[in-house]
Structures are given as structure tokens and as C-alpha cells.
Amino acid sequence: MTTPIVAAPDGFSLPDEQRRLIKWTVYLGFIVLAVGVLNGLDQALNYAHIDIFRFFPGMRTYYQGLTAHGVFNAIIMTFAFANGFVAMAVARGLGMKLNHGLLAASFWTILVGTLLTAGAIVNGTASVLYTFYPPLEASWPFYLGLALVVISTWITSANLFVTLAKFRREHPGQRIPLLAYMGVVTYVFWDISSLGIVVEVVVFLLPWSLGLWHGADPLVDRTLFWFTGHPIVYFWLLPIYMSWYGMIPRQVGGALFSDSVVRISFLLFLIIIPIGFHHQFVDPGVSRELKYAVAVLTFAVFVPSLMTAFSVMYALEIGGRRAGGNGLIGWFFRIPWKDPSVCAQVLAMLAFMLGGITGLMNASYTMNLEIHNTTFVPGHFHLTVGTAVALSIMGIAYWLVPYLEQKELWSAKAGLVSSWLYFIGVLIFARGMISGGLAGMPRRTAISLVPYAEPPGWRLAGILVGVGGSLMFIGAVLFFVVIAMTVLAGKRTEIADIPYSVTLVTPQTSGWEPGLDRLRYWIVASVLLCVIIYGPFLASQFPLQLNVPGFRAF
């Protein structure tokens, strides 16, 4: 069984040398993901009191492995995937090739960045976790590498903008095709969002690690980190929404019902950037008023995800009914569950519903007081980034890798088994993490080494984490086997196009709707809201106290 592919209506195909760069960008993501999930296994077992991390090659402490897990999975894998997948989708949407120089520059930048960061983590000079809060002080290659990884995404944005500008010149008066629109807004959104972390790393931490500053300002650095650290979750998610909106409808034989709804939901993400303070609900030095204002905005950013839920479910329903499903939910069983790409992504959506609910619980600050920094939090985000995003990426890979390689998928059945194992695994894992968190079990802790007797509720929680995490790990290994075998031993075949969806209501060229494409105005609105929320706080921190000395006992 192969994934259904539509022929390109306008005969578009990506030049071979661009296809190759996109391929290696995405594969870089898969390689770091493989290392990341191996560490995930060790962490899950740690919560079940099985201490194996000392036997991991190149890993001396639990926290060294945890740093690798967070940095590789959540930062490098997701960015590499976005750089490859979104660029490809925009090229396809516009029916134009990308700028080759920028594509190559982006690839080499993220590769060098990854090597520097990974080197620092492996040699033990950067066990600062993926949040690297100063005054924990890593060695300079860690910061430089991270900066390069982020800069690679800026190079990709430049590429998208250049290509879009060319499209607009050549097609005056035309609306931006939806697939390209989603990709471009994702990167505009990210360019603004990433400013916090770039300033933190380039202006403060990197020079500090080179001895140019004498200390750090922990509160300001945390704030800059979370300025980016919340919206980063949408940078993980929006490429997935592109697949759910722009490709899944085609893959299930359905259709997307409204073009404008999609654009509006992407614009809402663009506008509601500055809500990172909800990660600092229990921080000192931030006023209550600001925290409460951000809590309300955080609830608002739930709306575009609800819109997505509706559109995507509707597309699935159209497909399921066309395939003969009826009744209130009968259609759900008629979507092509045997297609590993669909199966993985629909399971990812189910996980995301649970992730959304637990996210609302985190955002309710009274609840946050109970669970901040407990295992409830990794319980929540393994449903979101760890599954909704990661399992969707695996699902996308089941057509993307064959498309990029022009080879048949090695085994659809193995892909299906992988997806189900991962999904069932994460349900057990999250159940353990969440109940542990409610019982006060701290996250980011080598639980297998604690010196005190554990409170009730932790033991069972930890065992569930160990069992669920092991299932996830086996699922992930199976995914890598399928991909590796496709690349190395897949049968040659011709795959003309990506699964490109049509919309039921096509974009209008008159009325209010073209206003959605005038990104300039929406960018201004977005920046304005950032200034309103962050401006006064940051201004109140001047003059900065760069005086807390670095700390390296890890």
C-alpha cells in the first residue's frame, strides 16, 4: 500500500540539487532525533528507578543526557524538519524553485551549529539542559552552535521571502497560494518570536562564556528565553498544521472547507506572540498584574487551535463519509487507517486533544502552583511536541522520504506498528507523568538517585513512565528502521508530487479577504503587542545587573 499522491496540476517539480539539500536537512533532524529518543529511554527508566545512564556511551550524568534529549529533540530536530519541509511546501505552493544559495547556506549553518552544540554536550561542558538558565554556564561552542541553529531558520525565512517576492512580481493580483501562505506566516511568526533567544545568546551568554561579561542577569535572561520559549511551541506546531490543513485532507480523500479560516488561524498565532511570562508564573521579580494579563492572552491563543480542530475534523469527516462511513462517528473508522502516514497523524491529533486539555490546566495559574516543574509538565508536552509534533513528523516522513528519494516506502505495515506503539506508549507515559506530578514528583531530577524516601504515588507513576517510555522508544526505533530501509533498500519508483489538498471555498480576490495576505499590517500588530507586554518590564530592568558569576558544577 503506497500513500496516494496527486499529479502536479502544473507539472511542478523541484530541481534535483534543491531536493538533495532539503533531503539532508530533514535527515539531519532524524539523526539527532535518534540520539534524542535513546536518551529518552534512559530518562523514562530513571523514573522507574532503573539507573542505566552511567552505561550510556559518552554520557556521564543524567543531566548530560537530558540536555541532549531536550536540545536535539525539541530544538534541532524540529528546526531542521521545518527548514526542509516548510521550504519544500512553500516552493510547491508557489510552483517556483527556491533560492539555491540560501538553501545551501541554511543547511550548512544548521549542520555546523549542530556539531558545535553536540560537541559541547558530549564533552560534558554544557550539561545546562535545553533552557540553559544562567548562571549555569556552558562552554562557548554550546551557545555559538545554538545561535547558528537559530540563524539557519532566519536564512530559510529569507529564502521564503525572496521566493514569495518573486512570485508576487510574476503573478500580480494573485492571492498567495494557501500552502505557501502557511509556510511564510510560520517563518514570519518565528522571526519575531526568536528575537528573545537570539538576544539572550548573542548579546549576553556567548560573550559571557568567552569572558567578555563578568556575570549574567538571571531574571532578564530567563525573560528573554521565555519570550521565545513559549512561541517556540507554535514553531514546532505550525509546520504540522500545514500538513493537517494542507495535505491530510487530500490523503484521506476529503477537502479543506475554508481557505480564509486557515489564514485567520495562522494570523492569530502571529499576533499573540508575547505570552512567555506564563512560564514565569512562580518567578520572583515579575509583577502579579503582568502575570494575570498574560494568563488571559494565553487562553486567547487557544482559539486558533480550536479552529484547526474543527477544520481538520471536518476534512476527515468528508473523507470518511466518501469512503462509505456514516452515522455520528462511523466515518471516523473509514478514513484510511492502513496508510501509515494518515494513521500516525490522526493518532497524533488524538494525543493533541489531551495535550490541549493539559495545557489549559497549566495555563490556569492556580493549577500551575500545584504542578509547576513537576512531571505533570513533561506529561503534558510529550502529548504535544513529543507526540502531536513528533508522531506527525514520522507520519509526514512516510510520504516525504519516498518523494524525496523517489523510492517506495519500505514497509507500510512496520510504519503502522510503529505509530500504534508510540501512541499507546505515550498514553501510558503521560498517565504516569501526570499522576506523578499531581503527587509532587519533580521533573528534571535523577529520581533513581534521590536520598529520601519517596512520597506515596511516585512509585506507580514512575513505573508507568518506564513502561510507556519503553513502548515509545520501540515505536521510534521501528520508525528509524522503516526510514533507513527506504533510503537504503527501497524500490525505485516515480513519485510526481506531494499530497496537495484543494479547498472547497477558494480564495477570493476581492472584498476583505485579500487583506489577509497583506502581511505587513499583521506584522506591525504583532510587534506592537510584544512591545506593550514586554516593553515596560524590560525597560524597568535597566541598568542591567550583569554581576551573578557563572556556575559549572555539573
Binding site: 494568563a295 492556580t366 509532587g440 534521590v450
Partner: protein, 164 residues
């Protein structure tokens, strides 16, 4: 078919929106009527030129007197400082019903201050003072944990609050 879908979508969004507003109202209620508050801005500790942060902490009240102080019939103040990888004091005793204001800071890295099973949950940042108030209604031996990664022996960093 589309008009119908649009109607459903509007309905779906309105109902979900009402849920979100409902949640916010509940949140406001718990804050205003039940007094469940987030920690806010308290104060900073600034080291003088050439002085270490630890020295600055120990000369700044209330950190010059660590531990529990009774300040009213049921009111207490518990003053802590955190340093990799321990809390001081390591153990405190309180009577059931004590309303305690925890005041804490860190002298080196970011630490967490979390009493498992309660909503005493705050971050300790070097140079910043953290404060939170909580009433202990049940007797027990409460585990005070550092729940932010703070280096190699982070998992050992804990203390006890004994409520009798």
C-alpha cells in the same frame, strides 16, 4: 454543504469560547475569593562592588536571621536561603493551622522551592527575593524540594517541614 459547515464552525467556536471565558471566571474567583495568589514582585538583593552575593544576602534582613519566627497568633515567617545543593534551615517545626509566609532566595544558581503536596511553589533566582504564604491544615512530614535543575547533585537537594 458549506453554509452548513460554516454554521457548525461558528457554533463550535462560540461554545468553546464560552468554555474559555468560564475558565477565566473560575480563575478570577479562586484568586479573589479563595486568595490563591501567584507570587509577585518582592525585592532584590544587590551586592556592593567587590562583595559576594552570599555576603550581601546575609547582611540583608530578613536573611540575617534564618528559620521560623512567630509573628501573630497563627502567623509565622519562615526565612530560607538556597545554595547548591541544600536549603537552610534543613528542617522546621510548625503547629497545625500555622499560616506561614515563606521568604527565600538563592545565593548561587536558580533553584526551585516546592513543598510536595501543597501549592508552595516558587523559583529562587540569585538576587531576587521570593515570597509565598500557605496555611498548613494537616499534620505531616512535608518534603521541601528543589525542583529546578541546579547542577550535578540537584536530585539530593531537599529539606523537611514538620507539622504537628
Amino acid at each position: 454543504m458549506n453554509h452548513e459547515a460554516e454554521r457548525y464552525e461558528r457554533l463550535f467556536l462560540i461554545i468553546s469560547g464560552l468554555f474559555l471565558v468560564g475558565f477565566l471566571i473560575v480563575l478570577a474567583y479562586t484568586s479573589i475569593h479563595m486568595g490563591v495568589m501567584l507570587p509577585g514582585k518582592v525585592g532584590v538583593i544587590e551586592a556592593k562592588a567587590g562583595e559576594s552575593l552570599a555576603a550581601a544576602v546575609f547582611r540583608t534582613p530578613p536573611f540575617d536571621h534564618l528559620g521560623v519566627k512567630k509573628i501573630g497568633p497563627d502567623d509565622y515567617e519562615a526565612v530560607y536561603f538556597a545554595q547548591a545543593w541544600a536549603f537552610f534551615p534543613r528542617e522546621i517545626d510548625l503547629p497545625v493551622g500555622a499560616r506561614v509566609k515563606f521568604i527565600a532566595t538563592s545565593v548561587d544558581v536558580t533553584h526551585g522551592f516546592f513543598i510536595a503536596g501543597t501549592r508552595v511553589n516558587m523559583m529562587l533566582l540569585p538576587g531576587q527575593i521570593s515570597e509565598e504564604t500557605y496555611t498548613f491544615r494537616k499534620a505531616g512530614k512535608y518534603l521541601l524540594l528543589c525542583h529546578e535543575y541546579c547542577g550535578l547533585l540537584h536530585q539530593t537537594m531537599h529539606a523537611w517541614v514538620i507539622v504537628k
